[in-house]
């Protein structure tokens, strides 16, 4: 498997001298789904601006598929990495949705026919067919968010970076967007890197998690990260509700092999656990149950 993103010892300070990134090291394989978590102001957006070369690293320490992003030509670097920022109004700067989605491909120097094909394909991917002539101020927040994603998909990047894709979306739009991102990853082989605080969407969007707090504090599978409650607390994070619930269930004797991270996983784990106990799981309260429950709750409480 190829390495899609390789960042070694990346440092960045704001013009006023504040350190935004401190010795950041990240290695992401092609086709992986990565979530980057961390408190507000941890440097996630700054890191993303390095990933597509908008901010150029001083040394050649950001490599995309082995090539230094800083020395790539504009058309090439936007072909490799597409960044969808958090606020859709910042990304839909043209007068119509069509022009916004055509903006990247036109800058890549593609022919008008190819641009047209890509615009239509990107709109179909996010489920916004027929929105070509819409103006952004007539669209809902969810539609704008999808249009902003389409405006990046039209460049057909190999790596898709998304900053808070599910923030402020209604549950239906959120589910739609998660489905689109997963489809892109699974069926089109696009490597996805997502920054988000939406912990309940984590299991669907992450193979691995990086915890960023100016430097990389931790890295690993989601379950390992959230099992470390000290790490979670220190970095202003929280574990998914279902994960905490099964930790509590364990105090009552409801033990599963692995603590589930999502509803789907919980069904699987619970079924396996009950089947192993010959179809019956008994829950009970003993002397130390309440103490154990309190310990679990307080370990994740801020």
């Amino acid at each position: 498997m190829k390495t899609a993103i390789s960042i070694t010892d990346l440092n960045y300070s704001y013009p006023d001298g504040t350190k935004a990134l401190d010795n950041v090291n990240i290695e992401i394989e092609q086709g992986e789904k990565i979530v980057i978590m961390g408190p507000n102001g941890a440097g996630k957006t700054t890191l993303f601006l390095h990933l597509n070369g908008v901010i150029r690293a001083e040394q050649d320490n950001v490599k995309i598929f082995g090539n230094n992003i800083g020395s790539m030509k504009t058309e090439d670097r936007i072909r490799e990495v597409g960044v969808v920022f958090a606020e859709p109004d910042d990304q839909l700067f043209m007068s119509t949705v069509y022009d916004d989605i055509a903006f990247g491909p036109l800058n890549m120097g593609l022919s008008e026919e190819e641009v047209d094909r890509r615009v239509k394909k990107a709109l179909a991917t996010v489920g916004l067919e027929g929105f070509e002539d819409k103006v952004p101020h007539h669209m809902s927040f969810g539609q704008k968010k999808k249009a902003a994603l389409a405006a990046v998909l039209s460049m057909e990047p190999r790596v898709l970076v998304l900053d808070e894709p599910t923030a402020n979306l209604d549950p239906k739009s959120r589910a739609d967007l998660i489905r689109v991102i997963n489809d892109l990853n699974k069926n089109h082989g696009i490597t996805t890197v997502i920054a988000m605080h939406d912990i309940n969407a984590l299991s669907e969007l992450a193979d691995r998690v990086y915890v960023l707090n100016r430097s990389i504090v931790a890295e690993g599978p989601t379950r390992d990260i959230f099992s470390d409650h000290v790490l979670v607390k220190e970095n202003n994070l929280d574990a998914p509700d279902i994960f905490k619930f099964f930790k509590i269930l364990k105090c009552f004797g409801g033990d599963c092999d692995q603590t589930p991270m999502s509803i789907d996983e919980s069904v699987k784990e619970l079924t396996q656990a009950i089947e192993a106990l010959e179809g019956k799981m008994s829950l009970h309260i003993h002397e130390s149950t309440h103490e154990m429950v309190n310990d679990v709750i307080s370990s994740y409480r801020h």
Partner: protein, 254 residues
């Protein structure tokens, strides 16, 4: 939310709506320039009637155009009020040393009629074409790119700023703020305007990042698909002919 959309009725169907947007910009600009230099008030009045006729043909509701003409007319109205008193010439009426001159009234009215005509034509020109098409037409007419881009981004972000302003305003009202004619209200409104400036500066930076992420290097690239039809040439010829008639008739009078 009521947005100040200039192209609200651009989807209607009329002779003016169907007119090629590039030819429309050129002919309407010629009309406006020839009308604002008219010296004779009778010809100026005919030009106003002609603009009104174009408005009728365009089928845009009168109320929509007249509402948008108001700010411009309020701006030129002082000419009509001040000039009759300020300009020397044939005295129409005099009272206690204050006199109203015929020449002042004549030129004041001329300024207002010229302004009304040009504002009406501009609004018809912009109101019968979608804003993005107008921008693309300017682009294809080789209007300098920084100018077109500035216009385009201004138009796009007016609506975002209105939303931002209204959300701030709502939150202030939710905290009991009422506008009064005092220093406190003025300073609060000043703060809001300052806040919008700061926010727009920050937004500009984020928009730039997003543009750079899509390969923007300062050049505006866009797909333009316009094609002049016979009807467009015909209408352009009629409008340019009108311009010439007004100029020649104006010259014959002077």
């Amino acid at each position: 939310m009521k947005y100040p959309e200039i192209d609200k009725y651009a989807e209607l169907d009329s002779l003016i709506h169907r007119f090629d947007p590039r030819a429309k910009i050129i002919t309407f600009t010629l009309l406006i320039f020839s009308f604002v230099f008219i010296e004779d008030i009778r010809i100026a009045f005919v030009s106003l009637l002609f603009s009104f006729f174009i408005l009728l043909v365009s089928r845009i509701p009168f109320g929509f155009i007249f509402n948008r003409m108001k700010p411009g007319l309020i701006f030129v109205m002082p000419f009509l009020i001040v000039m009759p008193f300020a300009l020397d010439g044939n005295v129409l009426y005099s009272y206690n040393g204050i006199s109203i001159s015929y020449d002042g009234l004549y030129y004041g009215s001329l300024v207002v009629i010229r302004a009304a005509t040009s504002i009406m034509l501009t609004l018809i020109m912009l109101g019968t074409t979608k804003m993005d098409t107008t921008m693309k037409s300017l682009h294809s007419l080789k209007v300098p790119s920084p100018f077109v881009q500035t216009l385009m981004f201004s138009y796009r972000y007016i609506f975002v700023f209105i939303d931002e302003f209204l959300s701030m305003w709502t939150s202030m009202k939710a905290k009991g703020f009422k506008v009064k004619a005092n220093k406190h209200s003025l300073s609060i409104i000043g703060n809001i305007v300052g806040m919008i400036l700061v926010r727009s500066y920050e937004r500009a930076e984020r928009v730039y990042h997003s543009m750079a992420s899509k390969g923007y290097t300062g050049e505006s690239r866009t797909i333009v698909k316009f094609k002049m039809q016979t009807a467009d040439y015909g209408l352009a010829a009629i409008l340019i002919g009108t311009v010439l008639i007004f100029i020649i008739y104006g010259m014959s009078l002077s």
